[in-house]
């Protein structure tokens, strides 16, 4: 079994079989991560570049660890916005990197479509580690892995993505992946934070958080960006917390067991109350390990494709 594409640019259009293969492979690696010797020689001799145009320590460390566990040689390029403005174009940078005989490029960029662009101009396998507000496929695969771990399945489950869906790269990837695998997806947030025309993707839109809690098996809670730009989309953080924040009171009213996912770091008292955040600690730690397993799976499947 192998993947049908040589890149992972996003989850849009990725077939069910590929998603299942990645999740199943991740399970195997998850077991390896529990062993005393966590390293396998699978990608020995392969060179992987982590090209990060945006600071994202969590994602980068997760990829780096996955690469080490697979015995690949990895190189980090962290390029701040300052050096972009100094004149070297993205194309120059990637051509220089490719000259080093690179097998896989993991790229993170604030502009949507950069992984697609790289896949056109260079011959390495490209993995999207987050592009603008477009996609973040490995994060979504990790979310799906964690859901499957808890419920033993994905098809037929009801998953709601809560928060600033319009400015989230995680939301779109989750929607594509979950829909493909047969889950029911809804989104919940202030209407200014719901992407235009999202219903056309077969996604249900709700604006009432209690309803979202009641109707779903899983809440995937997005981090609210607290900087000024994001805050133009709602009147105040207080109002957001009051109307869309998840509190233990709200959860208790519902009664049934619901899985809450959060990509971290949590804004306590905003999207999750402190109490709910504390209760989530264990799950979040598990998600970190799951993230490494999922990224190992993606790297392994692409790295052994040729």
């Amino acid at each position: 079994m192998s993947l049908s594409s040589r890149h992972l640019l996003g989850l849009q259009g990725v077939p069910k079989e590929d998603i299942q293969l990645i999740l199943d492979t991740a399970s195997t690696f998850r077991e390896i991560l529990e062993r005393p010797i966590k390293r396998v020689p699978t990608l020995q001799g392969k060179t992987i570049v982590n090209l990060f145009y945006e600071n994202s320590t969590r994602t980068r460390i997760s990829f780096e660890l996955a690469e080490k566990r697979l015995s690949a040689d990895s190189v980090n390029f962290s390029i701040g916005q300052s050096s972009v403005s100094k004149g070297e174009t993205l194309k120059d940078t990637i051509k220089n990197i490719e000259a080093m005989k690179v097998d896989i490029v993991v790229v993170r960029h604030s502009a949507a479509g950069v992984p697609n662009f790289l896949s056109r101009i260079c011959s390495s396998n490209i993995i999207n580690a987050g592009d603008g507000i477009h996609e973040h496929p490995t994060q979504a695969l990790l979310d799906m892995y964690s859901i499957r771990e808890k419920f033993g399945k994905l098809a037929g489950l009801k998953v709601c993505i809560v928060g600033d869906v319009a400015h989230s790269r995680v939301a779109l990837s989750n929607i594509f992946g979950l829909k493909t695998i047969g889950a029911q997806v809804s989104v919940c947030g202030p209407s200014t934070m719901i992407p235009k025309f999202i219903e056309e993707l077969g996604v249900n839109v709700i604006h009432n958080i209690d309803e979202a809690i009641q109707e779903n098996d899983v809440l995937n809670v997005l981090r609210i960006q607290l900087e000024r730009k994001a805050r133009e989309y709602f009147p105040s953080i207080r109002e957001y917390a009051n109307y869309f924040g998840i509190t233990s009171e709200r959860l208790e009213k519902n009664g049934k067991d619901i899985l809450i996912l959060h990509p971290g770091p949590i804004n306590r008292g905003v999207e999750l109350s402190s109490e709910v955040a504390d209760g989530l600690n264990q799950v979040i730690l598990q998600q970190v390990t799951n993230g490494v397993a999922v990224r190992m799976a993606v790297l392994y499947l692409l790295g052994t494709l040729n």
């Binding site: 174009t89 949507a112 479509g113 662009f117 996609e135 779109l172 235009k196 025309f197």
Partner: protein
């Protein structure tokens, strides 16, 4: 030189001409005789058009030449060559150069650079100094220097107040104001707001950014009795607004670019920056309205918004790449393929939109098929099937989304200013 062009099909809707098998005899670039002449006349040069069309020379009223300032992208000379090979004998060039065309000196510079060419270049000047929207340009001086219109194109004329003043001032000179309609508080995105912008995660430009300014400008034009021309109209609502305004007798005209009736924002799926322009590619519903507008005359002319950009600048992150594509060498082919052959416009209507109406809007005389007139023609083979090849473009830039596209119909030559371009060569007449 005596030149005989034989076997022409002459079409000129302004003169109500549609005649086959005619010969045109030129002496030193001036029409001497039109009729069935071939046997009776001896000429230095005989060109057999084999039944192809001769129409009044095409005119594109929205072209960005990058000189002065960005000669690496386009010069006046390369832009004129691109126009001639695309089938145009006249172009109006937009003022967003560096420096902007906002003084008589820059107008003079442009005119001098274009002086010896087959293609006539008509500068459009900035409406406000530096296109900043603060102070009116020296409009009287610019008029005297020979500009044909005013525009802050590239951006909108910033405020209703400076727009109103510009309308009031240009009344003395009967110049149109050509507006790039884009509300700045809603602008800055990379593509049309639609399901596609959601799917691609690209910052959107909602269609109302255009609609709002079209509405503002129509109202200000009505109030001041000014003449407003809406550049590169692209949205359904904007076209409806122009239609309503025309019915009321307000002096409003509009143009559409071939890419806006050919492509939709579905084309952006590969993040190819050759599909990034401003206004952005819209939806099928907008194209339907454009077609209606072309048919009923709401849209007066076709202008390609030729916008050369260097390969390096276009080959970048989609959000950071500049807006715009070149169009002079595909405009006629796209218009014939998409409008004539799809039976949306007749050849006469197409000639109106590509030759007669833009000249009327800019108060320029219309070429006539009459003895004693300067020959100003475009030759059309409406049935030739050809493949666009950007490597053969005369433009200095190659940023076109139409490379390798199969088109039906093209301009096969032009005549103007005692020069002819035919068979790929310029000939002095």
């Amino acid at each position: 030189m005596k030149a005989l062009i034989t076997n022409c099909s002459i079409v000129h809707p302004g003169q109500k001409l549609n005649e086959k098998n005619k010969d045109i005899f030129l002496v030193d670039g001036v029409i001497k005789q039109i009729g069935n002449l071939s046997t009776s006349i001896s000429a230095d040069k005989v060109i057999d058009l084999k039944g192809n069309y001769v129409v009044p020379g095409f005119f594109d009223m929205h072209v960005h030449l990058r000189e002065p300032g960005r000669e690496d992208e386009e010069t006046i000379a390369t832009g004129c060559n691109s126009a001639a090979f695309g089938g145009f004998t006249g172009i109006a060039c937009m003022p967003n150069t560096e420096p902007a065309i906002d003084s008589a000196e820059v107008v003079k510079f442009v005119k001098e650079k274009a002086a010896d060419h087959l293609v006539d270049v008509f500068p459009v000047a900035a409406a406000t100094v530096g296109r900043k929207g603060e102070v009116l340009s020296p409009i009287a001086e610019l008029y005297e220097a020979g500009v044909v219109g005013l525009s802050d194109d590239g951006t909108v004329i910033k405020t209703a107040s400076i727009l109103k003043r510009a309308f009031e001032y240009v009344q003395m000179y009967n110049l149109p104001i050509i507006e790039h309609c884009e509300d700045e508080s809603l602008s800055g995105g990379a593509m049309n707001e639609s399901i596609n912008s959601t799917l691609l995660g690209l910052p959107p430009i909602p269609s109302i950014a255009e609609d709002l300014i079209v509405m503002r400008d129509i109202i200000v034009a009505e109030y001041t009795k000014g003449q407003i021309h809406i550049a590169h109209i692209s949205t359904r609502r904007a076209i409806q607004l122009v239609r309503e305004a025309k019915a009321k007798g307000i002096r409003v005209t509009s143009e559409v670019a071939p890419h806006h009736f050919t492509l939709t924002d579905d084309s952006l799926k590969t993040y190819d920056t050759n599909y990034k322009m401003n206004p952005p590619l819209r939806t099928n519903a907008d194209i339907d309205e454009i077609i209606l507008g072309l048919k009923d005359g709401t849209i007066d002319c076709i202008a390609c918004d030729h916008a050369p950009h260097s390969f390096e600048e276009k080959e970048a992150e989609f959000e950071y790449a500049p807006y715009g594509i070149i169009g002079l060498e595909t405009s006629v082919g796209l218009s014939l393929s998409e409008l004539l052959h799809k039976k949306i416009l007749s050849l006469e209507q197409l000639v109106e939109k590509l030759s007669i109406n833009p000249r009327k809007i800019l108060n320029q005389s219309i070429p006539q098929f009459k003895e004693g007139e300067i020959a100003n023609f475009t030759f059309l083979n409406i049935d030739e099937v050809w493949t666009v090849d950007i490597s053969k473009f005369k433009s200095k830039s190659k940023n076109s989304p139409f490379d390798k596209r199969l088109l039906t119909g093209k301009a096969i030559g032009v005549v103007n200013n005692k020069k002819m371009l035919f068979g790929g060569e310029f000939i002095d007449l």
